[in-house]
Point group: C2
Chain length 209, copies 2
DNA sequence: TTAATAATTGAACCATCGTTCAATTCTACA
DNA sequence: TGTAGAATTGAACGATGGTTCAATTATTAA
């Protein structure tokens, strides 16, 4: 009896893992479509087709299109917040740590396998879902800004408007989704390094002045 | 008779000027709605309401939503190309000229009265309309890149990847539409100056290296 | 093997949106 | 003043897209 219950619990776990796997598949398919089309013109039928399901099946796993977007952005932000956290354990200068964060940001956005959606506007999300994403995004932005300010405090950077400069930096990174060509000559990692190096040089200032 | 014909010609001019004025009103209203909502979720009813017209009336002046977007972007790009052209007559360094162009770019995007739409993707435009806008956008981007390269050639800048760096710059500028708060403490001109200065510092490099 | 439940399908439903249209009003001209 | 044509209205139309649903299939457990 106990064994049977244990067996049921084990198969329950397997069923749950299969359902969770299906959710992740749908999220990856959705992120690819969101990146290709933008949220507003990405359709549920196209997402379903991309995930090899029927449109109605999406609603077995999610409460609707907004929730799919929510989880896509949540996942992308987790990836970025993770990189931000790991930068704290990096040896090296603040510039090194910021490089780590900025390159991870670009990789996340341009990732063809995962097809991040973090660069998409949160306006499309309703009420409470939006609140969660905005809070996470603000934590990430705040973390990046703190690195910028920390560099200012230890003399590596000269920045008088960290809020605006941090947004200028993030804007540059996010806009890569608009122009990056997966078939192009540069890999995402290369683009990430080039842009990060340039953006950080702008923080270091012109020592000749 | 000749006088009557002349009078008719004069009133014909007035009628045409009034029609053209109406078109400009509609374009400004549309640009505000496009900026607020994005092209895809901006509706013709909302544009009509913003312009104090009925929805059907829009079609008296334009062939459809796509054409309205086309003219909005065309106008914004004309403003930016104009700034680029005028920068050629500027006295001063390449950095001065680039500052002029970048600040004009940001002002254009954040302009509350004109509500530019140049940062919007061109994907929404069909065939030939898109071709025209892409060509103009490419001319503008090419012009900005030539300034970046010119600074590299005369020693003001150190840039090894001008294509990517130019896109990083334009991305930073375009993204300001996402976060700029018209009710905020900074005016568009201030934001433009701060961001342009930072982006150009990144071009100048780290002379300590 | 059977029954219960989950997963899946794909068409239908309803709301929305771009666009058209018949009717009305306005303007310009004779 | 009357007429022709432009401008305008706002509802209707057809297409689209998010979502629901009845029916079917698959899976799991007894």
């Amino acid at each position: 009896m106990v064994q049977l219950l244990n067996n049921r619990s084990n198969s329950g776990d397997r069923v749950r893992r299969r359902a969770e796997g299906r959710r992740q598949e749908i999220l990856r398919a959705a992120a690819r479509v969101f990146r290709r089309r933008g949220f507003d013109t990405a359709g549920m039928r196209e997402i379903a087709e991309e995930a090899d399901l029927s449109p109605g099946n999406l609603y077995h796993y999610f409460n609707g299109k907004h929730e799919i977007l929510y989880f896509c952005q949540d996942r992308a932000l987790d990836t970025m917040l993770n990189a931000l956290d790991r930068s704290g354990t990096c040896a090296g200068t603040v510039a090194d740590r910021l490089t780590f964060v900025l390159t991870a940001h670009v990789r996340c956005i341009l990732d063809d396998m995962e097809g991040a959606a973090a660069h998409l506007a949160v306006d499309a999300l309703p009420g409470e879902l939006r609140g969660h994403i905005v809070a996470k995004r603000d934590r990430y932005e705040s973390g990046v800004r703190k690195l910028v300010e920390e560099g200012g405090q230890n003399g590596e950077f000269q920045v008088r408007e960290p809020v605006i400069i941090t947004r200028a930096i993030l804007g540059s990174l996010n806009w890569t989704a608009q122009w990056f060509d997966p078939e192009g000559r540069k890999a995402p990692g290369d683009v990430a390094e080039i842009i990060a190096a340039y953006l950080i040089r702008g923080l270091k200032g012109d020592t000749r002045a």
